[in-house]
Amino acid sequence: MRFAIFGCLSTALTIAVVANAWAQRGQFFTACIHLTRSSASLMILLNMGLYITILLGRALQRLFFGQLRALEVEHLYERSWFAVTETCLAMTIFRDEFDIRFIILFGLLLLVKIFHWIVQDRVEFMEQAPNPSVGWHVRMQTITAILAAIDLAMIVYAVQYTRTRGPSMMIIFGFEYTILLSLVLSTFVKYLLHSYDLRRDRPWEEKSMYIFYVDLMHDFEKLVTYFCFFGIVVYYYSLPLHIVRDLYMTLRSFIHRCRDLIQYRRATANMNERYPDATPEELSATDRVCIICREEMDIAGNNVVPAAPVNNGQPRAGAGGRVPAAGGPRPIAHPDTPKKLYCGHIFHFHCLRSWLERQQSCPTCRRSVLEQPSAAAAQQAAGRPPAGGAPGNAVNDFQAFWQQHQQLFAGGVLHAAPGVNTPGPSVQPQANGGATAANPIRTLMGEPQNLPTSSIPDGMMFPITLTPLIPLTGAHSGQPQTIPPVLDHLSDEQLQSMEGRSREAMMERIRALQNIQHQLTGVITQLMQISQIIPPPSATPGAESGSGIGTSRSGDSDGAGVNAGAGSSSSSSAARDETVDKKGKGVAQES
């Protein structure tokens, strides 16, 4: 309504002005001169031009887009507002060249821009809209082609103009149209992607990724264009204030996108190995519902757990339906495979992937999925007890083992103290000293392969009074005693199973390391016993040895002595193992 009044007024004024000029001069040429000389009539004519432009724009919009949606209108107002204010700023740079032509060019630019925005909104809306008709596609393609042609023509014109006449305000239009061309191209690629998605029977999971890349490209082009423009304008004119906002926004968006890309690549690279498949036990411990799609997770029929590493970071999820269980040359995780994050939460493979595209954190607990497994496990161990029933999580076991170890260290000093203060008959150690001393030395030298275990059968042969001195490596760690594997006799398969980054390989390695630690603990314990039993050269053997043991056990000097005896181990580990040893003896004494 208001627009109609505006139109009527503009038309009436224009007719009045033209009629007036005609009446005064009576001739076309002089009338024209009269019109252009008077600024009032010029304003009225410009206003008429504006009205005609809006009318033309509306007609085109009706032709190509039909009715605009409320959101599109809102976007238009918002963006037009920025465009106008920014152009006003731009005018300050080119104020010397400000003339009618500039206004006309600017009006045209705004019109073209508006159409670009509408096309952009329309293409984005494609995702939500019901299946568009053929006519819709034809119109979209036509308007895209027209816009691209206009952009290209204007760029060429701007370049030629600048070449022949040197830098002028045409630079600004040249750059504006370059950015618009980049926009229309990226919009068109998106349109193609959406169209392809609409044709498919199954949802297209990778689409969001491609769209992300298109946006990234567009941002990059925009950034390059802006920087060129910035450089040129700063060189020839002054600081181009009007693009500072847009430049900042583009730069920020570009940096964000790059960061997202890196994080996303990190999170989804090797997704198949990075996140282990959930085992049936783990799955049954939960309610079996994937929190993302709210559907059941099932392991059955997904026996494509890869034995060999998958090189492709992004398996073709959803591309061809089910992958046959037998698998091709390269096993690929099925999109419905339940995958477990480090934090223990389980999701469908494809659900997890589409979420990781947006956010690299666990949907349930928001812990970053990029965290190192050990760090995550440590947090878990600190935060809550490891889930029972689940088969041995090597990392967790290791953490628990380590914590126990340290607790023993902390508690061991206190616990061991009473045991130390009440030494057995002083004769005992002395009487059997020779035998015990010989025993560990023999085990050290003769049977290096099963050091910790060897002490137990050997201990059985000793008189019962010796129990305090038997190093019970298995008992103090709270871990079941494992016989260390003979590493040099491992078969090739076993060795291969310890390589790689898969869960199994890691567990194998951790197990091996644990065994080594057991062995070391055993050796150190035995060495300590030796050092305790064999009196130091300065001390007199005999009745004093009993009290000597008592004092040296609680004293630090003995730790140093042990350290020297152990040789290779650091003083801290020696001290720790000493207390562990005491604890072991304490337990043995109680029994």
Binding site: Q128, I291, I292, R294, E295, S361, P363
Partner: protein, 169 residues
């Protein structure tokens, strides 16, 4: 439109709708407006007791994006609603309805924002508790925020009048 049957969003919305109809939270009803469009829902929310909203029933629309549940829906009251966290046009501004990542308001923790763990039911329950306890730190409606903070009596009056209007009385 058959092709969309396979989409995660639609399947999940259907699951949620089924759950909401079989086991609805007290006083809350929600569902798609028409069978053809599962991405626009209507919801009715009761005003919580012991608040000026008590006794009212508030209608709202929920618009789901195509990539739901990866992105949050938009909730908009379709009745007059005077509340510090509801924009003048009815759009609800609570943290769990904000997409993760960029924080437009720079005050929310990422942990408070949208994640697929949330659901329509949780959103509606959050909105009910939002009605009971406005968050005046994020004033979507500045006037309401100010009044809630400074002149609770007047705020209650305005809200009560609004509640009556929402009921069409």
């Amino acid at each position: 439109m058959n092709r969309r049957i396979g989409s995660t969003a639609l399947k999940r919305l259907m699951t949620e709708y089924k759950e909401l109809t079989t086991n609805p939270p007290e006083g809350i009803t929600a569902g798609p407006i028409t069978e053809d469009d599962f991405f626009t829902w209507e919801a009715l929310i009761p005003g919580p007791d012991d608040t000026p909203y008590e006794g009212g029933v508030f209608s709202a629309t929920l618009t789901f994006p195509k990539d739901y549940p990866l992105s949050p829906p938009v909730m908009k009251f379709t009745c007059p609603m005077f509340h510090p966290n509801v924009y003048a046009d009815g759009t609800v501004c609570i943290s769990i309805l904000h997409p993760p990542g960029d924080d437009p308001n720079m005050y929310e923790h990422a942990s408070e924002r949208w994640s697929p763990v949330q659901s329509v039911e949780k959103i509606l329950l959050s909105v009910v508790s939002m009605l009971a306890e406005p968050n005046d730190e994020s004033g979507a409606n500045v006037e309401a925020s100010k009044m809630w903070r400074e002149d609770r009596k007047k705020f209650d009056e305005v809200v009560r009048a609004n509640t009556l209007r929402a009921l069409g009385l």
